[in-house]
Amino acid sequence: MKILVVEDEPKTGDYLKQGLTEAGFVVDLARDGLDGLHLGETGEYDLAILDVMLPKLDGWRIFEGLRRAGREMPVLFLSARDQVEDRVKGLELGADDYLVKPFAFAELLARVRTLLRRGSRSKEAEHLHAADLELDLLRRRVTRGGHRIDLTAKEFALLELLLRRRGEVLPRSLIASQIWDMNFDSDTNVIDVAIRRLRAKVDDSFEPKLIRTVRGMGYVLEDSAE
């Protein structure tokens, strides 16, 4: 997967490139709007991450230029200005998503993966599994090592999210937004409590432990044996 990043702030640009590269993407970084538009028009990218405030050509103009050139890849905007008109403009232009600086890198990564998945949704699986944990989506049943586990509707949804995106670190804000539709940063530890309760049912009396806390970032479900 190839990603175009247009970001003029040197440190942010470098870290975005490093982070995304380490997450397995191929990244091209442009430092100003004109270079960015040129790269976007000539190269083949699966996704573009555009800073709004850029020298020479701002993010909105690059976006318009790309669409005019027939480039239909999803676009994620980064904005330091959390202003209403920016938001409105972003949505009117048909931008796919946007993040307000400062943002958590895990959040960015999660959004990038969501956007990339959006275009190519493969056939919905009926079963999800990790190690000996199995999730039957049709009958809404969970078993681990053959034992039936009773989950509430939200716990089931949470486990489904973790399984669908296994191996990805999911920030708390993304979990709150995906499971409870709470689209704002909240300083409560609701997610931690919910995860703890899910773990108690899914992980506590079983080995290996599947749900792992990544300190400072969020939660990930992975089978360490794989």
Binding site: W180, F184, G216
Partner: protein, 464 residues
Amino acid sequence: MKRRNHSITIRLTLLFAAISTAVLLTLGLFVGHAVEQHFVEQDMELMTGKLQLVGRLLEKVRTSADLDLLPTLLEDALVGHHGLELLVRGPDDTTLFATHHAGFPSDFLERSAIQNPPQIQVWQESGTHGPQPRRGIAAVLSTGISELPPLVVAVAVDIAFHEHFMASFRQTLWLFVAIAAALAGVLGWVAVRHGLAPLQTIRQGAASVTASRLDYRLAVDSVPVELAELAETLNDMLCRLEDSFKRLKDFSSDLAHELRTPISNLMTETHVALSKARTADEYRDVLASNAEEYERLARMIGDMLFLAQADNGLIVPNREPVDLAAEVRQLFDFFDALAEEKAICFSLQGSGQISGDKLMLRRALANLVSNAIRHTPPGGSICVRIEGDGSGARLAVENSGEPIPPEHLTRIFDRFYRADPSRHSSGEGAGLGLAITRSIIRAHGGDISAKSGDGGVCFELHIA
């Protein structure tokens, strides 16, 4: 270019002078007219008196011998009346009698033109010392001889003296009016300056107000009644400014403090970590801990930006119908795990629909519920009551637990305000949640208040 308005002093002075001039001028004209009228009446009285005298003399004329004696009788009657001219004309327009300087315009003596009562006339008669102004009347009087037609009798007085007097009177009057107008202007200027002195005092007072001296208040008692309202308005403005300024000062010092604590933690942690070589796990721990702190900082900055925008009226709710009961149920669902851990029981009563921004309202209500959970003791309860009223609704979030002292209730919505200062470092929120809630409710044209009784705390909001 901006046109500068004339000063009040100049305007009032000019107005004052203009009014005095107009009044004095009218008065002068009136007095002049009255004096002249008086002269006319005086002359008229004199002349009609003479006409009557002549009339009586004529009545006594019974024979032509009497007629011959008439000039002598008239001569006697006019003794001592200097400047009085008399002319008596016979039936065939011959002059029966005339004083020495008697001269009348010929049409004046025309029998047919003479009216009863006599009409006064003014004319110039050429005399030895140039033209002489005269005022006169004429009448047709009959004699005692019945076959003799009535005679034309004309009387005139020399009014040169009166005219002269009036001329000098007018001159004096105009001079006086001019001087009085000038004087009124000067006095008016002095009076206006004096009258506006309290304004100067207010100006000087206002000029001495600075950011560090916002406690200055104008003395309302010492200014005139007309200015008392202005002074009070200015004082009210100063009150509001002082209050806002104090809040701003508190806010920036709180902000500095709130930022200093996490940044100092970050610095210490990082410096300690760097002070010697450590294992990768130890470094990871430090970075993870830092990341948590950064996230808290970022959240705080986001919240502050939101509040700043709300203050500037930039938060515009994107209105759509919102079912409050459904929102609350969703929030209960979200906070369910947390509540269950503390054995807190949720309950919801009533329902209501309003028009508002779903995202913002959810955030506002989430802050209220989260705040309630934080302050409810284990085993307590949280109750949300909704009452729809027409297009709006009331919503109350009530929780059992310790009451909030009244002195904290009014400030509980202030930024960074915590009723319990010791909770400062426990890491639970930055004290912006309720401020954000209030901003959102106000952006929707509603308001929120906090009440506290024996059994707990209640936040009540109303959106129309």
